[in-house]
């Protein structure tokens, strides 16, 4: 049995870091020099996919996909979202367009959003008040989606995001029965 969790979000939000924190296998990443310093000012960026895996036993595991954050890879998103257990959307609060980026991803992953299978982790927040902007934005759209202050450099934070997706998926199993 194979399942998958997506890590999505703009460039530099922490997708590669998050997958590395929880993957059993050394994640396969496809980092290249970042020439797109307008989108994010870091040395490398993921150019194809990050790929990690959580083994459960011989024939089951949960695959972790980090989708490239650059806009020009949008075309891959719907293909990868198909059949996913859920998506972790990572945002960078220090980015001036973070709320617009939230909208962008909510739209692109509308199918997951409609079954509650999307959790938002906002990085680089100063205090709990910073999360209020995102909560208010989601509320105005009638969406009661989880949004947390997340620092992906800490494994516990990444685990909370995954556990939230599991709790939601368990609810979905029950509702569908």
């Amino acid at each position: 049995m194979i399942s998958k969790i997506l890590f999505i979000g703009p460039m530099g939000a922490g997708k590669t870091t998050a997958i590395t924190a929880v993957s059993d296998s050394e994640p396969i990443t496809t980092e290249a020099d970042n020439l797109d310093r307008a989108q994010s000012d870091k040395a490398t960026t993921t150019v194809a996919l990050d790929y990690g895996e959580i083994y459960l036993d011989e024939d089951s595991s949960v695959l972790l996909y980090g989708m490239p954050g650059q806009d020009r890879f949008d075309f891959m998103w719907p293909i990868l979202a198909e059949g996913a257990l859920g998506a972790v959307l990572l945002l960078d609060h220090s980015h001036p367009d973070a709320v617009a980026q939230l909208d962008h991803f909510l739209e692109a992953f509308a199918a997951l959003v409609s079954c509650g299978a999307l959790v938002v982790g906002v990085g680089r927040v100063q205090n709990s008040q910073d999360i209020g902007v995102y909560q208010a934005h989601l509320k105005a759209k009638g969406l009661a989606l989880p949004v947390y202050a997340t620092d992906v450099r800490h494994k516990q934070n990444v685990l909370l995001l995954i556990e939230t997706l599991i709790a939601n998926a368990e609810l979905n199993e029950i509702l569908e029965r």
């Binding site: 049995m1 399942s3 929880v22 959580i54 083994y55 459960l56 036993d57 089951s60 949960v62 509650g116 205090n127 709990s128 008040q129 999360i131 909560q135 989601l138 509320k139 009661a144 989606l145 989880p146 949004v147 947390y148 202050a149 997340t150 516990q156 934070n157 685990l159 909370l160 995954i162 556990e163 939230t164 599991i166 709790a167 939601n168 998926a169 368990e170 609810l171 199993e173 029950i174 509702l175 029965r177």
Partner: protein, 302 residues
Amino acid sequence: MDTLRLASHGLSKHDQEILSKQLKMLRGRTACEWVLVDDYRSADVTLVQGQPPSDMPGIIALASTKAGKSGRYHLIEWPIRLFGLIDLLMAIELEWPARAATPLPTLSLAHRLARIRQDQWLDVAGMVAQAFQAKDEFRTTVSSFDELIERLASIDGASVRFVEGHHPLADQEAALEPYSLKAVIWSLALREEAIKSRQWHISQQQFGIATWPLFGTWETAPWMLRLAALYGRQPATLADGVELTGLRVELVAAFLHACELCELGLTVKQSTRPPRIESKLPAPESLLARLRRKLGLGYKRT
């Protein structure tokens, strides 16, 4: 019995000692318990000889040539005699219930904290704290969150006193530990017996939340994630929450109560529909259950 705090201002050391002795002699003769405090900024009533400072909070009694009232001031004849003092204290006690006649004293501590709408110094059963509503901050001298909650959980809302104006501890602000005010309200509300106080119906009311709790920052447990998933998705009854989590209904109610006090947009509507959720926890061999085990979830953090 209510405790009222009396301070003095402008009295000589000798007069202060006399006042202290007089108060002791009156013990048991007044409706409230009167205690002397050093600083008028934390007093309910201040006895003033001379001119009261402009920032003096609470009730002011002026030493005067006669007793009675003059504008907002109580007057007490000087020098203070025992009968003059007891008259003054009883006059203030008569006035006191009127000031306290808000519904607040019957509210729980979490409820009272949730109602704070301005930055304020608090005295919570002797523990000094500072609440910043806009900044979502609760500052106290207690150095761990768990200890703070443990201490506050046994206190009822009636023991909270709002201290007006400047507080002596303000000068040591840096020494106070900042916590999230909402995180404090959340943890306290979870520990309150909401099922009794809210009078919710187990199957004839449907609940929903508009915003997810700030898990990770606020106290978090696996069962809370499940309840948030349920009530965030669709209106559901308390009974649904019990079915989904296998928890006692008291905990489900406490969760919804905490959501409301943290302003997560709790909605309640009447329903006659029978409960919809029919299955409990996922089978232990399910992929999700195994993923949980593998990752060591139960996530637990306070």
